[in-house]
């Protein structure tokens, strides 16, 4: 038997390579270049290792954001790489991460040049590619507020941005029959916005919070439903990226109210609610059970000793929380340190990145490889609805 290899088996080997190697190997031969750049391969490829993406800035007068990516495996936190911020992101006034899914990040804010334009930027830090999407039909911000969601459809691997408008104040809820452009969806494959084809749009009495988590193709937001000016109940609203259906989970009494003391997160691919005390020195981690009942179980408590304050930002693949810490003695406006908390030993392992941080776990992807870099999607008219 001669020692050579059919093409489809070579592809199996390629699937197991990191993105950096794949980008390099496009130059090795024509057949490898065409394989790696094929839309089938781009869509099927999924990185094997989890990374942590950290966006941080120090508290200096000069606005100076930096990004670093750290491999989340047994070498953590030593394998780290600086990530260049693309011009599209730098062109946002004060960008924040809307969400991350399938290795893509979505950031949002006003455009620095065209000040009335609001933009979302989809960024693949693994291959240094970004595209921007202009947000259309933004309603009067005295009456409405907008939340964004970002996720990649599990079936088609098509990135989708969802834009939801809701009524800010209870006094306006009665007078408004129909929220304009209430739920709109942008799909990268079409490059256009359209109304969501959901059959159950959210009630106009619902008010949304920005905090968003995407797990297994479902968006989750915290929200409150106002049945009167004073009566309200808290929910988790889910939005299925593939079929665009909304569902609600009413939160149990123990976890509701005090939404300013709750945040959602993704722990080992399950939705968890983090409930924290006012001083932010203690976090209870509650997991939402699957199935019809959707009950919550308390998993554990994060309570590091000798700290002024902590913010739990993300979880490592192994489950340890990635936290921002204000150490004892640091004033309230002082710099925060980024660290990993080990619940067993109660150690706080500093990552050496001080400042203000946003952190997202991600795995490498080739999505956006076939898109023109720095392209701006400006189709502001919704696609024709059949």
């Amino acid at each position: 038997m001669s020692d050579n290899l059919p093409f489809e088996l070579q592809a199996e080997i390629m699937k197991r390579l990191p993105v950096r190697s794949l980008i390099q190997f496009r130059s090795v031969s024509k057949s490898w270049k065409s394989l790696i750049s094929s839309s089938r391969f781009i869509v099927d490829y999924s990185g094997q290792q989890q990374h942590l993406f950290v966006m941080h800035e120090d508290d200096s007068d000069d606005f100076n954001q930096q990004c670093v990516s750290i491999v989340d495996d047994h070498t953590f936190p030593h394998q780290r790489v600086s990530v260049t911020i693309p011009p599209l992101v730098k062109n946002l006034k004060d960008p924040s991460i809307v969400g991350g899914s399938h290795g893509l990040l979505c950031l949002y804010d006003f455009d620095l040049d065209a000040k009335e334009l609001e933009m979302a930027v989809l960024w693949n830090p693994s291959i240094r590619k970004a595209v921007a999407v202009v947000l259309p039909n933004m309603p009067d911000n005295k009456i409405y507020r907008t939340v964004l969601g970002f996720g990649v459809c599990c079936q088609t691997n098509d990135p989708k941005i969802v834009k939801i408008n809701h009524i800010k104040q209870w006094k306006d809820v009665g007078s408004i029959n129909c929220i304009p452009s209430q739920v709109e969806v942008f799909t990268l494959s079409t490059g256009a916005w359209r109304s969501s084809y959901s059959s159950n749009l959210p009630r106009k009495s619902i008010i949304w919070f920005r905090d968003q988590v995407v797990i297994d193709g479902i968006h989750y937001w915290l929200a409150t439903d106002r049945t009167s000016e004073v009566s309200l109940y808290d929910l988790i609203i889910s939005f299925d990226i593939t079929n665009e259906e909304f569902k609600e989970v009413i939160l149990p009494d123990g976890l509701s109210r005090n939404f300013d003391q709750h945040v959602m997160s993704n722990l080992k691919n399950s939705l968890v609610m983090l409930e924290f005390n006012r001083r932010r020195t203690l976090y209870n981690v509650w997991m939402m059970e699957d199935g019809v009942s959707k009950s919550f179980t308390k998993l554990f408590t994060i309570c590091p000793p000798d700290v002024e304050q902590i913010y739990v930002l993300e979880f490592r693949k192994s489950g340890e929380p990635v936290i921002q810490v204000r150490h004892l003695g640091v004033p309230p406006d002082g710099l925060l340190s980024l660290a990993v908390y080990e619940p067993d030993s109660k150690d706080i392992n500093d990552l050496g990145i001080d400042g203000f941080h946003e952190v997202k776990a991600y795995t490498e992807t080739l999505l956006l490889l076939d898109k023109p870099n720095f392209f701006i999607y400006e189709n502001t008219t919704p696609a024709f609805e059949a």
Binding site: M1, S2, L5, P6, K15, R16, L17, S21, Q24, W32
Partner: protein, 155 residues
């Protein structure tokens, strides 16, 4: 003592291998052949040499014999076996891929693919040049390979 069933595999070199059925069904291809009733005398595997077939049988045997427990020792033992198993030259590894792909043994296929991927990723420019040279023969023979591959699939 119960009589454990054995299966006969006859390969490219005409050699016959007698294997316990429980080991022989690790490859899905053989499992399906047995289910379809094609295994009355011996199962023909004309596209696999003795050297490769005996290696594959060795791997299947080891994985079948090791208890499927979460016990640290058993896992470490298997890991160390796998680690040594793939310390073969590239030619053998590529022959193994073709055979294991035909026989459809998922676990072993994953192991070999991952081994080769680890060999070629993350190279310095000098190492990349070496890899380029090595891989030149991989797909310079691509055209010839495809013909050979399809030819060899005829049973």
């Amino acid at each position: 003592m119960s009589f454990s069933k054995t299966i006969m595999l006859r390969n490219y070199d005409g050699e016959t291998f007698v294997v316990d059925e429980v080991v022989a069904v690790e490859p899905q291809t053989i499992e399906h052949m047995i289910e379809d009733g094609c295994a009355n005398t011996s199962i023909p595997l004309p596209n696999i040499t003795s050297k490769i077939l005996s290696k594959v049988i060795e791997h299947c045997k080891k994985h079948v014999e090791t208890p499927n427990s979460n016990e640290k020792d058993a896992k470490a033992d298997l890991k160390s076996f796998d680690f040594d198993f793939v310390k073969a030259d590239q030619g053998t590894l590529f022959d193994l891929i073709l055979a294991v792909n035909y026989l459809n043994i998922k676990g072993l296929l994953d192991l070999i693919y991952q081994t080769i991927a680890d060999m070629i990723k993350g190279k310095t420019p000098e190492e990349e040049e070496e890899m380029r040279r090595v891989n030149a023969w991989v797909f310079s023979c691509f055209v010839g390979v495809t013909c050979l591959y399809f030819k060899s699939k005829k049973i």
